[in-house]
Each structure stands twice: as C-alpha cells, then as structure tokens.
Subunit: 175 residues, 2 copies
DNA sequence: CAATAACGTTTCATACCTAAAATATCATGT
DNA sequence: ACATGATATTTTAGGTATGAAACGTTATTG
C-alpha cells in the first residue's frame, strides 16, 4: 500500500474535457464520486498506518513489515508452509519471497528444508529463535495497532470492521 | 499494497506467552483484538484495489500508479508545484520523486523549470501532452474504482466513507 | 515410456521506496 | 562580507515489489 505503502495519495477525477484546464481541481472532499473518495481515504489510512508500523519495527527491532509478515504467517503454521503458500498468504509474487526467505534463513529466524514428498518444494518453518523474536515483535506490533486505531469508539470500530469485511468480500468476488 | 499490498496481509496476535507454541494460531476472524482485525482488513482491501488499478494502468496505458498519482497532483495545480510539495502530497520521500520526475519529463508529460525566485527549487507543471494523457487515464481510473467499490450499497458507501474519514482524522492527530 | 503439460522455485530486468549523506542555494546576524 | 543555519534537491546504498523467462521436478497421457 503495498500498502505499503508506504506510500501514497490517490487521484481526483474529471467529468468532461473542458477548455483550458481539462480537469477540475477537485479537492478531496468536493464533487468527486463517492467511490473515489472512499478509495482515497482508504489508501491514505492504510499508507499512514503501514509507514508508522514499518518505522517502529525498524527502530525497535531493526526489521521490516515484510519480514514480520512472513514470520507471522509461519507462526500460525507449525506444520510449515511452502514458498508458494506463503506468497499467496502475503499476496506477493513468488519471486519476491525468494530473497526474503534467504535473508530470514541467513539470520537464523526460519528453517528451509526440501519436502520429502515433492522435491520441487521447500517447507519453511520458524526456528526457535524466530519464534521468540516474532513473539516479541508481535506483542509490540499489537500495542501499536491498538494505539493507532483504538482512538475510534468501540461502536465505530465494529461498524468499520463490518464495512471493510463486506468490501473485501465484494473484492474477492470481483477477482 | 504498498500495498501495495501491494501487497500484504498483516499479523495475528498472542495474548500471553504459553508453553510450546508460544503464539496462538489466530485465524483472521477469531479472538484477535478488534483493532488488529480492522487493520488486516483495511490493508488487504487497499492492497487488492491498488494491485488491480496498477495492473490495469500498466495494460491500458503502460504506466504505473506512482506516475499517475504524480500527474494527478499536478493536474490540480495549474500554477505548478515544487518537488517537495509533490513529495508531501504523495507522502513519499523527496528522493523517490527525483527519478519519477526525470522519467515523466523525458516522456514529455511534465515540464520542470527552475523557479525564478529561488534557484533551489523546480516548478513542475503538466505539459499539454501530459494533461491530455492524464485526462484519458483519469477517466478510466474512475471507472475502475467505481466498479471495484460500487458494489457496496450507497448507504454502506457513505457509512464507510464517514468511518474512514474519522479514522484519518485520528491518525493525523497522532502524527 | 517418452512427449508434454503443470507446478515450484529462482533469476533477471525494472520500478519504487526509504534514510542518510552530499551539494547547492538562500537568509541571517554580527 | 561571512560564518551559520535552514531549505531544496540529488545521490547512494539497501530493501522489496513485479512480470517474464528459465529450470528442474512431478504428473499425465497417447
């Protein structure tokens, strides 16, 4: 936003192609279509949060969100996962996983062993160190997220979650 | 989704550090804190939309969201903007703008002229070609966004916008 | 059982991001 | 004038994303 994002603001919109300045200036809150305004807000919220989390992960743990996310996926899969599984879970391309995994393995946070059944695939698992380190990071990460979003009232939170869940379902169908 | 998502799914969480497996597996919808679940949904929605828009921009216009966003900011500033202004608007670092601007200038979509008042700064403006090209992209971009988000009912949309706006305000205060 | 299709992973070229250091210009106070 | 500091941009080094091509490993099937 990528997310991050970190990362961006999105665009306004034009209704027709008029004279000199072919596009209406369109401030974030004016006549633009509702959908566009939702998208802009959604993206800027996600970007801000992502940047904030990324910066703190770097400061406190000298790591990144990408690495944290990969560890998080392995943490909930004691049986391990293949590169492709992980790349699907993280919604990034297979190629992106390779370098990430190489470094995490070099840092001793994960193990990578050839699958006994299918020699094309690797099984990735958290190492003991990896599990410990992830535990520390996860606790702080949760505190940060709660601090960022927790300012919304519980009612606003559950409304927001509902709407985002609905949106996600529609997006899934689309794809 | 940055986020590009691009980009990503975020993490679960543990409540305390128990025996063997120090972390609860935590599926996306179970006992995790509301804030965490909101963040995960928010990020995955933003990532999906961002990837979708990026892919279509590449296919139809052979460009990217980053370039489109930069053009969009210039489109609403006929008086032009400095590199720093643009980097603030897009919420990316100054360094990221340099290469982007160089390519857009090489492609003839924007002009870059030294400011007459302050020779440290450049004024960036859309060229005629740039304005035309941006107009075409913007129209398609809007259609795509409407298609992606428009499946929500108008009521759900305006609720969602309200909540995101509230969240954004809180995030602004935080920073 | 060999050709071929499908799958899992890596490699490559390209793009974008950041933070920090380097450079260049302006603005001030003495 | 001049050192000092603030501002604007570029450069550098490092991390991560993509899509496409290449490869090795299975699976299928005529």
């Amino acid at each position: 936003m990528d997310a991050t994002v970190k990362r961006k603001l999105r665009s306004p919109k034009s209704a027709r192609p008029p004279p000199l300045q072919p596009l209406e200036p369109a401030h974030e809150s004016d006549g633009a279509h509702l959908e566009l305004r939702i998208w802009l807000r959604l993206l800027s919220c996600a970007t801000r949060i992502e940047k904030s989390l990324n910066a703190r992960l770097r400061k406190e743990f000298n790591t990144t969100l990408a690495r944290f996310d990969l560890l998080a996926q392995l943490a909930r899969k004691p049986e391990g996962a293949s590169m492709s599984e992980v790349s699907n879970l993280l919604m990034v391309s297979n190629g992106a996983i390779t370098a990430l995994v190489q470094k995490l393995e070099a840092d001793g946070l994960i193990h990578r062993e050839v699958d006994s059944e299918d020699r094309r695939t690797f099984r990735l698992r958290l190492s003991q160190d990896g599990a410990k380190e992830f535990g520390r990071m996860a606790r702080r990460h949760e505190e940060w997220v709660i601090a960022l979003i927790g300012e919304l009232s519980p009612v606003a939170q559950s409304d927001l979650l509902q709407h985002l869940t609905l949106l996600k379902r529609r997006l899934d169908k689309h794809a």
